[in-house]
């Protein structure tokens, strides 16, 4: 007995939801970044799972996309964390509740 595609997708969904929870509920900017990274990783899991369960392709598209996505996530994390530091220097806080200059 082996796990089906559905099982992987549900794990990925759960990971995504946990990431969403972190992004929505924590008031620290770093948590939001962590949440976003988790959501991205969940998407990567989906790509890999679909690649594995889908018809055989050469070159392996799912793997390729996952690779690029990881690279982009790294870039995003770097810039995001730099922004957290910049914001902290400027406002002396990383609490997103207080960062509401875009308030309408």
């Amino acid at each position: 007995m082996t796990p089906t595609l559905q099982a992987f997708l549900i794990v990925s969904t759960a990971l995504f939801s946990i990431g969403l929870l972190a992004a929505l509920s924590r008031r620290h900017a770093i948590f939001i970044l962590i949440g976003i990274e988790m959501m991205l990783a969940a998407a990567n899991l989906n790509f890999i799972a679909f690649w594995r369960f889908g018809p055989h392709h050469q070159p392996p598209i799912g793997v390729m996309i996952a690779l690029f996505s990881i690279a982009i996530a790294a870039a995003e994390a770097a810039v995001g964390l730099a922004m957290v530091i910049a914001v902290y220097r400027h406002y002396r806080t990383t609490n997103v509740d207080q960062l509401d200059q875009l308030r309408g």
């Binding site: 929505l24 509920s25 609490n95 509740d97 960062l99 509401d100 875009l102 308030r103 309408g104």
Partner: protein, 665 residues
Amino acid sequence: MNSWIVTYLWFVPAAPFVASLIILTLSNARRRSAAALAIAGQIAALAMSILAFGQTLQTPGFRVVQNFTWFTFGEQALRLGFVFDPLGAAMLLMVALAGLCIFVFSVGYMAEDKNFTRFFAYLSFFSGAMLGLVIANSLLLLFIFWELVGLASYLLIGFWIERPRAAEAAKKAFITTRIGDMGFFLGILWLYGRSGTLLFYDRGNGCLESAGLAMLGASATFIALLIFCGAVGKSGQFPLHVWLPDAMEGPTPVSALIHAATMVAAGVFLVARVYPLFSLGPINGVTPSLTVVVWIGVTTALMAALIAIAQADIKRVLAYSTVSQLGLMMVSLGVGGVAAGIMHLLAHGFFKALLFLGAGSVIHGCHGEQDIRKMGGLRRLMPVTFFTYAVGMMALSGVPFFFSGGWTKEEILHATASWAPSHAPYYLILAGVVLTALYMTRQVIYVFFGNPRATAEHAHESPRAMTMPLIVLALCAIFFSVVLTPAWPWLHGYLTGEPVHFEIARLIQPMLFVSLVLVGGGVAAGIWIYRKAGAPERDRPAEIDPLEYAQPALFRFLANGMWIDELYDRTVIAFSWASARLSDWMDRYFWDGLVRGFGAIAQLFGIFTTSVGERGINAGVDETTVGTRGLGRLISAAHSGQIQTYLGAVAIGMLALLLLYAWLA
């Protein structure tokens, strides 16, 4: 061969229109040129009318039609046209002639007014529209002119614009007639839809010709009744008569021209013009639409005559009298006496114009006083006015033989007596005859007999410009009777297209004696009641009417127009105003509230995510207000500026899309 004038009939209304346009461009100071232009335009119209009228005498049943295409929409042509037949020709002549008299009279009457030029511009405009109305060969063209005379009436009633009452009366006139006009408009639409044309006569395809009528079927009754709505509004028939007495706020020549002689008669003319529609599909010899016309007419005639008895304003007496006479004409049309009704219309045009101008002369002589109880004894101070007024009064009362009104009323009585369904209208009209004689006698006694009271002591005869038209109109009222006598019913024959013969024996008829007795009775009663009207009598003060003294409650009821205005104020007008306020309120609060409700839903999660957090843990000290501040600004609150709120919105939106997709799949 037809002469050029029949082909270019539109010259007749065009002349006053052109005059009006030129006058409008003149400055206020050029009074003489304005009056000259207006009168010249009117003379031109009259001359052309006479010329054209001459053409119609040649053949019985004369009818010339000139149709043209107004515009083409899609592939359809909308055609209008002018028709020239005895009915139109007679109306044309009356309108042009009475108009000319009134124009001349106005030169004297309005001499002091600072807006003299504008007055003549409006008058000419009215005259043009009215002349156009009577020769229109299309219900649409008729409606166009109908609205234009309404506009002229509105402008002229409110001519003394600085008087709030005049403005109020103008508004009332415009709106009340427009209520009727909306029915008329629907009638036009219906007729257009059924018959495919609005031309009256179009070589057998017009809506009044057999082919067109055949297409109408059962809807003819409704169409006729809707068109009649317009006539009810314009001709001051019950229940839309309320504007006409108020319209007396306008200058007196306006009352004479528009609200006595011509425009208010347009309703009667309209019914006569589309008579084939009314007489389509009779049941037991009578069509339902004509029955309605009869009963509306009877109600109006009698009611207005009753109210006229209790009026103190010289013009309001005449106004109610006009309403009553128009009711009479409607009855005549309703019972089948089309020619009789039109003859009465023409005769009424002359003598009612005469009476109004006489009243104008009296008012002018008494320095603007309009209350008949404050006049008296004017027959010595204003002899010309008195004699001409007396002619008008006798014509209106229906004194036979020498006065036009007598003969036409005879005809109407004849027609009504032979109406099959009921004799009630006949008897009610007889009562109306008595009342007419009574209120006219009352008015003449108050104004011209007895001793001068109050302002009347310094009265003076009016200038020549005003008395000449009076004399001309008085002569018309007398000589017009020549063509109306039963002995030689020329006009009757002219209108119906039947040949007539002179036969002296028809002059004496039983009906004549009946009406002689009734008119005599009315006059006698009036003289007896009002013999000492202006003077104190027993314990009655001079300013109180003898009838008021005898029946104060009833008199007050009549003097206030049977409280109909007040009834409308409290019902129709109050209801409309309330619905206007309601609409406004709904808009401001209900619909807008709904929209804000949607906005509130959109922001709900914004408040939700923050405020749930507050209550759930309540650890925050400095961030307690952040979430709730959004409540104050409803729509913008969704933009909390917080990244997490936006993210939550994205998540909810994604969910919504998912559900939508699931629902669709």
